[in-house]
Amino acid sequence: MGIDRLKSASYRKPAYLLILLNVLGFGLLFINKENNYNLNILYTGAAVLALFLVMYTALVLGRMGDKFIMLMVFMLISIGVLLLCRINLSYAFRQIIWILVGGAVFFIAYFVYYNVKVWSRLWYLYFIGGTLLFLITLVFGTTVYGSRNWISIGPISFQPSEITKILFIMCLACYTSGSWSKPLLGKIKPKWTALLITYVFVGFLVLQRDWGTILVMFSIYLFMIYVYEPDKRLLALNICALVIIGLLGWRFMYHIQVRIANWIDPWSDISNRGYQIAQSLFAISSGGYFGRGLGNGSPYYIPLVHSDFIFAAICEEMGVFGGVAVILLFFLIAFRCFKISIMASDPFDKAVSFGVTVMFALQTFIIIGGVIKMIPLTGITLPFVSYGGTSIVISFASMGIIQAISAKAERKGEPDERK
């Protein structure tokens, strides 16, 4: 009993800090005159806190695997919603609805993944599902910022490529876990089929001009074969292919040329093409170490500050230390997910959690690297922080999968394991 109490107390401490941050942050925004003392701010904060308390309690009491990931995820969500509230209240309001949906999807994904045992044999379904999503996008999709990757159904619009990423990871996991060993049509080895599937997906994404997702997907494939494939020639071949595709894109695609040019020198065309990245750098530098304080900055100068460039706004208002804290949180999440991957006993689970971890890590690296002008900018969302319905829901769903895998490891060897 004494041990139990001690343990739960130490689990509570970080939760208290999270609650304190939310109360102070949303309270501060509420007393800001610019917001006209809008009660919606307080409701948004209360919704974040309520969802956190419900999910964290369910996780700890229900022994649903790892407890730390959810803590860190909600820290990121709190920071993201605080910034969104400050940038644009209506975005924050829509974001909170998506977060509530995401919370429900988290539990659905958890229970479905935990209880269904045939995931590792359905690689063709994942492939067909992914292809269908791509075809639907190509036919019915709408073009936003040069990429044809949105589908609108009534008032809701979503990005099917986010769902495809998960399907792609599960498809690759079937191959790397060895549960898919039968050659296709009696001849083509799974190794080559997996390669083919990757290139088919990348080809569809090229048609949609969704460069960020191409980078994420192809890198997931490279990491997977780096870890699982004993034959390193395949990896070398694929890296060569990536370089060739990159060079061809740079040579022939105007879109990519602009991105590279802005990355090398945003200052020469600062009023037009370099505007976004230059404003982002100004914002980051004006923040200093501790930031200008929530509500004191001027994030409106950065186009798309609510989604892709939210990291710049965090750096401006919460300082370099705030930005580093966000990166640290992502580091710790990736670390925990890798640990879950190591502890998992089923090879398919191992591969899936590895793939999901790589996806989170890559997305974070690509967008933060783009915002601070370390690598050329490609527009993808920062998981859990940026505004974006599909991104939030899919991030929650993949978190649910990871949670299910960690719960399996935690309950292993206990006969009262739920069937």
């Binding site: 130490s10 920071i79 929530l294 009262d416």
Partner: protein, 148 residues
Amino acid sequence: MTVYSFISTILSYVFTVIIYVFIIFVIRLIYLDVKKMSRFEDNSIADEACASLRPVKSKTEPRSPLKRRYNIYGEAVVGRNPECDIVINESFISQKHLIIWYEGGEWYLEDLGSRNGTTINGKRILSEVILDPEDVISIGGLNFVFET
């Protein structure tokens, strides 16, 4: 400078402190968790000093379900007390029932003065004994096979 921007500036330091203390707490929890994990998977112990106890069919039904296998790394105390390396919560097992350890190429077992005693292959033991693989250890009506 308005009142709001003053409060906000002060709170920006508070936020930074809160976030970092939060991160430190989480790192501490993760550290404790990893330490717990490495206690059970100790690579510093050679392979021959690792053994296991496997529950086999016994006359009495265990009150709480048993694991499929209990691993022993170097040495292990078996008992009802949560501090034991192998915790078996049965009423006929003492708080600290017996100890198994590895020394100089042999496995030893000694009863720690338990109330209901320990039998090996049906014989009640009185002092420390050398264990052989496939020995059947009975404590509190439960049978375990010793495997190296």
